[in-house]
């Protein structure tokens, strides 16, 4: 229990950073995890190829919500190229919990990455590559 629900996860799920919506988002992207009903909607503000601001609204398990809170902090100020390079392992490092053995919970943790990438790709006018979809 201590591993999966470290203080960091509990804190971020209870008091998420970047909660809410942006007034004029460049992109809004919504993703759902039908298995457990996790859902998040992320607003991105993009200027000159850089993410200048981000907000999200979501409901779901602590892992999905904490991961979104942590990832939104992480991507602020990053270029779209940098976002494209983000991997599953980056997110797992961010939340710092051992989910490697649990495919169901991995889906929860990676939901925000899927949303951010899908948002960026849709802004860039391209589709998520098939392998990206398999995050």
């Amino acid at each position: 229990m201590d591993d999966l629900y470290r203080e960091l996860i509990i804190e971020h799920s209870k008091y998420p950073h970047n909660a809410g919506t942006l007034e004029n988002p460049t992109v809004t992207q919504e993703e759902k995890n039908p298995l457990c009903g996790d859902q998040i909607k992320i607003d991105l503000a993009i200027e000159d190829g850089v993410i200048t601001d981000v907000r999200f609204v979501g409901r779901g398990c602590a892992i999905s919500q904490a991961a979104t809170s942590l990832l939104t902090d992480e991507i602020k100020g990053k270029s779209l190229d940098e976002i494209k390079q983000l991997t599953k392992d980056d997110v797992l490092d961010l939340i710092g919990i051992p989910l490697g053995h649990n495919p169901v919970r991995i889906k929860c943790a990676l939901l925000p990455l899927k949303a951010v990438k899908a948002g960026v790709y849709s802004f860039l006018g391209t589709q998520l590559e098939d392998d990206e979809d398999e995050l």
């Binding site: 229990m1 629900y5 509990i10 457990c36 009903g37 996790d38 409901r59 779901g60 602590a62 919970r105």
Partner: protein, 414 residues
Amino acid sequence: MGTQKDIDQFDILTLRREFPILQQPIHGKPLAFLDSGASSQKPRRVITSLEHYYEHTNANVHRGVYQLSEQATFAYERARGKVAKFINARSLKEIVFVRNTTEAINLVANTWGAANLRPGDRILLTVMEHHSNLVPWQMIAQRTGAKIDYLEIDGDGRLILDDLDRRLQGVKIVAVTHQSNVLGTINPVAEIAARAHAAGAVVLVDGAQSVPHMPVDVQALGIDFLAFSGHKMCGPTGSGALWGRKALLDAMPPFLGGGSMIQNVTLEGTTYADVPTRFEAGTPAIGESIALGEAIDFLSDVGMARIHAYEQKLTAYALDRLSEVHGLQLYGPPTAEQRGGVISFTLEGVHPHDVAAILDTEGIAVRAGHHCCQPLHDLLNIPATARASFYLYNIPEEIDRLAAALEKARRLFA
């Protein structure tokens, strides 16, 4: 087993020892398996039956003229007889072996439904159906132009039947679950069947959550079809049965085409075999169906009435015990009468997935999610629930552990 004991002396600890998996620690703690609604554990004798088949009898059925094939055929058909007797069918020709409840319901929707539903006809379901008894009907409705109506539930999760007779007008088939896999509600299917028949409809009962847990007598219920899975009743995965009234089955076109289901095949066309063979295309799950017969022997030796009585006691205890947990919201009928051993709940401030993950670290297995029952969760306005479901091998101590672990989860998120 084999010895009948009085319910008050239900020797639960001896019974538990017959399930090898329950001896296995999880995260260093004793396993409290509270997810039998999804799939039950298997007693040693069922596992042995499967092993014995593959070691000594394995051969295809109904086609070999050598000893092994004859033995396999005999064992497979004997298992069919056990299923027939278990649910009090009139004839073993009324038993079709399928892989699971879902396949059984798809079979009826695609054969009876395709032959009998016309544009404007109505199909009556309930809002508490799981996807297995919902999606096949939506698919056949789309194909035939039939319309679907849903019976609603009251605040305690019981079906509202006041206006059933009116709702039955123009209905060709009523497909209803015997017991809800989320609310635990046991539906009065005999009453529904009687009223449906008076209105000229046929009745399919989804027995996935009832056949494993209580005596189910298809003649006493007065229904037309019953679908259930073997893996929820101590049998192997890939086993299950559809029971149908012989006259209805006889009139139904085949489901899947292929080997075994034929009488005569020429390049010009095919005539089909009699029931139930007509509905068992291809090589069936022979060993699994035989082992389902063994599971039925096991359950019958314990006694279905005793299993039901024991589970009701457990459920009453659990309802009592869980109502003491702070911030816990229980769904479904508030008392153990008219409900089975399935308790869905939400814990204030903790998502059901997190609840399940925390319980897992204590060795307690529960399900979290919408339990293949998304419309019902939409109706209750919750994205998901956690669910504890009991079977004959569960003990009150496991419910105590569940309650304690829930308190722990609540404190963690407080």
